[in-house]
Subunit: 324 residues, 2 copies
């Protein structure tokens, strides 16, 4: 029996779960804390409902998410078996499933649980709550509706989704409902301290070194409105750094008082350049990225370029000036 919630798509999704017996849950490629937290939480909930369930992701979980209860249950698509039902979690379109799409295509019954405004409604049953800050808000409601006992493990998985998709409740997607969900999950045992230690307080030294180098090398031009930084292979080599060690640099550049657009360029191993751009309030960096065959959102976009980097970076800065 379902608790009354008055949300038709959610009720249909709960009914979908109760009506089927074996499930594949699909987290998106390059998984983040929301897709992983939700996939782990829903898997644990389905186990409590005595369902057969496998959780699949094309990529291994990043180290910072290995603390998630049930993360060891995550398998790669090659090791997955066919199931009659499949649920995509936090996947805005089918491409986000990566190699797990083959399992999806073989499932007779499909559901899509997400919160992205760009969701393409690709499933038989689409449960997409665009006002939710994280898919975890939707999965929390779903598990509640299914009347599964939410224990400390499930609560911790869902809280991780809230924390990571809202940047600790700081992004503009955060609503009163995000906080109410977070409060309820803490009351159910969500381990806020564990999550924050694992996700935000466990940086490798190489990541701190690269942040240091990025902030020292950064140039501020156009009255400080544009922050620009180029990281070369020599920078990576000096600290034995990997690409993930550069995470967070661009946010630090954007979060300077005068900056509207931050541009981070990273030389790749094969001599190309990955360009990441962020705007703080109004500038459209996606339009710039699209000129180079890239894309993204208005305030966060990127592209990959090849050629003489001083020329290209000069062009990028000119385009950024026009966008401000």
């Amino acid at each position: 029996m379902l608790a009354a919630m008055g949300d038709s798509a959610l009720e249909k999704t709960a009914a979908f779960i109760l009506a089927n017996d074996d499930f594949t849950l699909i987290a998106h490629v390059s998984p983040d804390g929301d897709t992983l937290g939700c996939t782990c939480a829903l898997r644990l909930a389905l186990i409590k409902l005595n369902k057969k369930v496998q959780a699949v992701c094309e990529n291994a979980a990043p180290k910072i998410y290995r603390f998630l209860p049930g993360i060891d249950g995550l398998i790669v698509p090659e090791n997955a078996i066919a199931t009659s039902a499949a649920i995509a979690i936090d996947c805005a379109d089918e491409g986000r499933m990566g190699a797990a799409k083959a399992i999806w295509d073989n499932a007779g019954h499909t559901a899509n649980i997400d919160h992205h405004g760009t969701n393409t409604m690709y499933a038989q049953l689409n449960c997409v709550a665009t006002s939710a800050a994280a898919a975890a808000e939707v999965i929390f409601k779903l598990i509640t509706l299914l009347q599964v006992d939410i224990d400390k493990d499930i609560a911790t998985c869902l809280y991780c989704g809230l924390v990571t998709d809202t940047g600790n409740f700081a992004y503009s997607n955060t609503t009163e409902h995000t906080h109410y969900a977070a409060g309820k999950l803490m009351s159910l045992g969500a381990d806020n301290a564990l999550i924050n230690r694992a996700v935000y307080r466990s940086a490798p030294i190489s990541k701190r070194r690269m942040l240091g180098v990025g902030l020292v090398k950064a140039e501020y031009v156009f009255g400080g409105k544009i922050a620009y930084c180029l990281l070369t292979r020599a920078d990576y080599a000096k600290f034995n750094a990997r690409d993930e060690d550069t995470e967070g640099i661009i946010d630090n550049l954007r979060d300077v008082e005068s900056v509207e657009i931050a541009i981070l360029i990273r030389e790749t191993e094969d001599g190309a350049y990955k360009v990441s751009m962020r705007s703080k309030e109004y500038a459209d960096v996606c339009a710039i990225a699209m000129l180079y065959g890239g894309g993204g959102h208005k305030q966060a976009a990127g592209c990959t370029v090849r050629g003489e980097i001083s020329t290209i970076s000069g062009e990028l800065i000119e385009l950024a000036k026009k966008a401000i």
Copy 2:
């Protein structure tokens, strides 16, 4: 009339406010987002109750808090007048009032609203909720109890207190009640985006430069368990930096995976050295600081030292090793 709340100290404080007519609200020295947000919020609430009220702080509000609604109403003690009632906000002891203590001493009626476990209960009426993550949680309850309409301005002030005292809901003091309060304040109009932009996304370039230098200069010793960094006057001079530009460096050092103790040493203008220490989980850095005449908490402490810095830093590192 008061709403029912079943919290005696809070009810007495509400009655105290209703029974008096003219108030001095006192924020603590070196004010943070909690004492300032609470002082502004309570001042706005008392104005709505047609009370005479002045808000006093020994120091000017840091730039990042100038966005707070009503912050222009804050005055320095020299400009304050005598009032019959005084309320200290977020002050663990009388010393935290600084020069505003003179006004407190002249008031016939005193109340102390706080959340620190170390509060010395120095007022006639002490309303100290040690389970609250921020004084803002207490002031929110108090204003609710007073049945004052909480508008967008008051809600924003209180939300700022929650955000800054919990490090965006990440510190271990965060509880389900903190989130419930945050959710309620957002529903009342608290401007989460404004607060985050002002407090966390408005760093001066000099602050980013100093963070970069700190992270590049940092040394990791004792198997990476100790992070150590010395910032000299030359570092400050290079980027025209001030002491507040070094804020955040030590947190970045502590939040490295292997680190248990982070030590940041800053050379002062008069040739002394300010030592800041943080521990991540278990080490007692206060015990180390006390050996040099300093103090603080187990996980965050400091002291000021003079002498040959290479000798002193060697001693500090040896003491840190013993504390791990």
